[in-house]
């Protein structure tokens, strides 16, 4: 293998790919990146057997070939040493020589025979702008359960509903649903992408603005753009029937400024107990929207917010963290909160935007 390419290119790609190498796996070759020089490009491949990635870098290939090099070593080198110029890579007796104008590095390679292939997903496919896909995932993924006791909910659930691609996550204490308008997407009964793989998918495609081809079957899903191919295993399971728990009617409604609520919640947090509990009291007749929290060691706090209120009075407690989380998905200035009794979930949504719905379960007192 012998080739020349731009440092800036290879550096970015190595940092991207390195995150997906297998750590702590029994097969040592999995913690390396496989460099494949063929045709007019250099391909980098890595996998942890749950995710697999292959990226392409334009390069001048003098001699084709491949070599596997430890991912952490490569990323360490490329994130520190070089300036913006061209780099020469050469495989000599299984070792990798890296040459630039100012440095010469020799790295020990690993046997690439044992480096696995990455599954090419065969199944239903559709195209979507990466911005839409990322927006959908980003709007909900923080709500998924982090424990892997129940793999079905430790995931982001994607399905279609009419002309929307719907993203859902829940950890059974709160639930986020985001609908993205997307024409031409085939009917999807449901794909469960493991939560652990979601952050990598976001990182790889987060900055990307191209069109992504998504291809999926019952076991695997892949995302590919011009130079990236990313594939993830999907969870074989059934997401709970969440639609039936979204309250259809409400007894109390509140509309208020997002910024007001955000500051009030942050203030309440200082006084909240170890369960992050904040109490909420809404009395539409007296036009009072009150947030309060108290902590035996610090003191207590009450904040009154301006809000448009209708319906019955209600009083309940909730975990303020769950509330704060959803602000990242709400882009409007004001938000609407709907209550339907002290023991059913609150429904939070942006005003005049039906694409996002967030449910929070109240706390027991």
């Amino acid at each position: 293998m012998k080739l020349e390419c731009k440092i800036e290119e290879i550096k970015n790609k190595i940092l991207q790919v390195e995150r997906i190498t297998g750590k702590n796996l029994t097969l040592p070759v999995l913690n390396s990146i496989l460099l494949i020089a063929s045709g007019k490009s250099l391909k980098l491949r890595a996998t942890n057997l749950s995710l697999g990635i292959e990226v392409e870098i334009p390069a001048k290939i003098e001699e084709e070939g491949m070599v596997a090099i430890s991912g952490s070593v490569l990323s360490g080198i490329f994130s520190n040493v070089f300036q913006n110029e061209n780099v020469f890579l050469e495989n000599v007796d299984g070792n990798l020589l890296i040459k630039t104008k100012k440095s010469k590095i020799k790295l020990k390679g690993q046997s690439h025979d044992d480096f696995p292939t990455i599954p090419r997903v065969v199944g239903t496919s559709f195209e979507i702008e990466s911005k839409k896909l990322i927006d959908g995932i980003k709007s909900v993924y923080y709500s998924s359960s982090v424990s892997d006791i129940k793999p079905e909910i430790s995931s982001v659930f994607i399905h279609t509903n009419e002309e929307n691609l719907v993203f859902v996550s829940t950890d059974s204490f709160r639930l986020a649903e985001k609908k993205i308008k997307s024409k031409g997407v085939p009917e999807i009964q449901g794909i469960l992408i493991p939560f652990k793989n979601i952050s990598e998918i976001l990182r790889v495609f987060g900055e990307n603005s191209s069109v992504i081809t998504v291809c999926f079957n019952k076991n695997q899903i892949s995302f590919s753009s011009d130079d990236i191919y990313l594939t993830s295993r999907v969870i074989d399971g059934v997401f709970p029937d969440y639609r039936q728990i979204i309250p259809k009617t409400s007894t109390t409604n509140a509309v208020l400024l997002k910024q007001d609520l955000l500051s009030a919640l942050k203030l309440s947090n200082i006084f909240s107990d170890k369960f992050n509990q904040v109490n909420l009291k809404v009395t539409p007749k007296e036009k009072v929207f009150e947030l309060s929290s108290n902590n035996n060691d610090i003191g207590e706090n009450k904040t009154y917010l301006d809000a448009a209120l209708t319906g019955e009075s209600i009083e309940l407690g909730f975990n303020y963290k769950y509330f704060l989380d959803c602000f990242q998905s709400i882009n409007t200035d004001s938000i609407s909160i709907k209550f339907s009794g002290a023991s059913s979930p609150l429904v939070v949504s942006p005003v005049s935007d039906t694409s996002f719905t967030y449910l929070i379960m109240p706390m027991n007192r």
Partner: protein
């Protein structure tokens, strides 16, 4: 050849392990198994696509050769992905309550979906758990014929019977069996209500065409509780067209209803005749022996041993539908577990006393009126002192119903029905009770009379 695939794979793994490095072995061969052997093709189950890809690319030759060495009938090896059951069930129960958050923060009432979203069939309904007795023999036989020849033998298949007699179980089991037997056939189960709401919402969003497409892509359509279709004219029309498309393409269609199609009110004639074109069978309430058999199977499932006496009592006391039978059994089992000792017959009787039948209040006069109307007799004749056979029978039925359904005391019944002695009343009740065990005609009569009470 009957071979033990588990043992075969174990032997092969030992050989494969010797040939490759330990790291490779544990990465690629952990969690693999032989799922099945079918006419010489060995299906190997692997945990994910990464493993499948690599086994095919790298180890296929080795695997094929190793298996071939110890199993000469092998023709090919295939790989398929299987779900690894996580062995954390026990852990799950322990972990959840310790999280302090779980204590204080209520969970969203999320329910697991056991129903396959693609076909709507509940995998729990299978023929393994379906008990066949005299009351549903015909329906069972017809459904087996349909599984063997879907779309051609009996199309449509129309099954009717009272609530809780296992109609849904049967039709879903047909769906599940067809799905298993013909993996490329698409089955779909729904209630009529779902069909109707789908239709209405498709009209609202101006997508009537996509509605037609949606259902017509299936090879087997199962529609439950079709009796509600009366009065829904538009739905009848749509169902009619869907039905025609299915029938022309020789695709099986199955309906269930609680009434014979002729008695579904306001059902269009064209649908009536189409329902009748295939096979119409009814499921009647289980007779005593079947109830006994059902109870025994349920007890076995629950792994509980009840006294023969008690089981027989429950089977004779809880008449009518299977759902009630299960309910009564659940009460007994719950008490059994609570008390942690076998229950006595008296206790069981006491437990079931309130659960057996809803006690309604109805004047004795009205009961007599309804029964005499049903048997087309003069109301007054029931009160008369006569031994005409048909009147005696009607009088006994009145007594039985008054006692069983309305809990009227024996002397009072006797007094109200023309000054009979209470022993006469007791005799009548016992007689009807015994007759019920082996007279389906009588059972149906009582069933219909009870409906008139409502």
């Amino acid at each position: 050849m009957n071979m033990n695939t588990k043992q075969l794979w174990k032997n092969c793994l030992v050989e494969i392990e010797a040939g490759i490095s330990k790291a490779n072995f544990s990465t690629w061969f952990k969690h693999t198994s032989i799922i099945k052997e079918d006419t010489g093709i060995i299906y190997i189950g692997v945990p994910n696509e990464f493993v499948r890809d690599w086994l095919i690319n790298k180890y296929h030759k080795l695997i094929t050769k190793t298996i071939a060495d110890s199993y000469e009938n092998m023709r090919a090896v295939e790989y398929s992905i299987i779900k690894i059951e996580n062995n954390r069930e026990a852990e799950r129960e322990e972990v959840l309550p310790t999280g302090s958050e779980a204590y204080i923060n209520k969970e969203l009432p999320l329910k697991d979906l056991y129903i396959n979203p693609e076909d709507n069939l509940n995998p729990r309904y299978r023929f393994d758990s379906f008990i066949v007795g005299g009351f549903n023999e015909l329906a069972y036989a017809a459904s087996q014929a349909i599984i063997d020849n879907p779309g051609t033998k009996y199309n449509p298949f129309f099954i009717y019977g009272g609530t809780g007699l296992g109609k849904t179980h049967l039709i879903q089991a047909v769906g599940n069996s067809i799905k298993e037997k013909y993996p490329n056939k698409k089955a779909h189960y729904m209630t009529l209500e779902k069909f109707a709401t789908d239709f209405i919402s498709s009209l609202q969003s101006n997508k009537a065409n996509s509605f037609k497409e949606k259902y017509r892509k299936y090879d087997l359509l199962v529609i439950d509780d079709i009796q509600f279709i009366g009065k829904m004219e538009k739905i009848q029309e749509e169902l009619f067209h869907t039905f025609n498309t299915f029938h022309e393409a020789n695709k099986q269609i199955i309906f269930s209803s609680d009434k014979h199609p002729n008695y579904i009110p306001e059902l269009a004639d064209r649908l009536k005749s189409r329902f009748a074109a295939g096979m119409i069978v009814d499921i009647s309430p289980p007779e005593y022996e079947s109830r006994l058999a059902i109870l025994k199977v349920k007890l076995q499932e629950l792994n509980i041993d009840l006294d023969k006496e008690i089981v027989e009592y429950v089977a004779s006391a809880v008449e009518g539908n299977i759902r009630e039978l299960e309910g009564s059994l659940n009460i007994i089992v719950c008490q059994y577990r609570l008390k942690n000792r076998p229950l006595s017959l008296a206790e069981v009787k006491n437990l079931l006393k309130n659960n057996m039948k809803p006690k309604k209040n109805m004047a004795i006069k009205d009961v007599v009126k309804i029964v005499s109307e049903y048997y087309k007799l003069e109301e007054t004749s029931v009160y008369e002192k006569t031994r005409k056979k048909e009147i005696v029978r009607a009088r006994q039925v009145v007594m039985y119903l008054l006692r069983e359904d309305f809990n009227v005391s024996y002397p009072l019944i006797g007094q109200k029905l023309g000054g009979k002695d209470h022993t006469t009343v007791i005799h009548s009740c016992i007689k009807i009770k015994n007759d019920l065990k082996n007279d389906p005609q009588l059972m149906q009569e009582l069933e219909q009379i009870r409906i008139m009470f409502k």
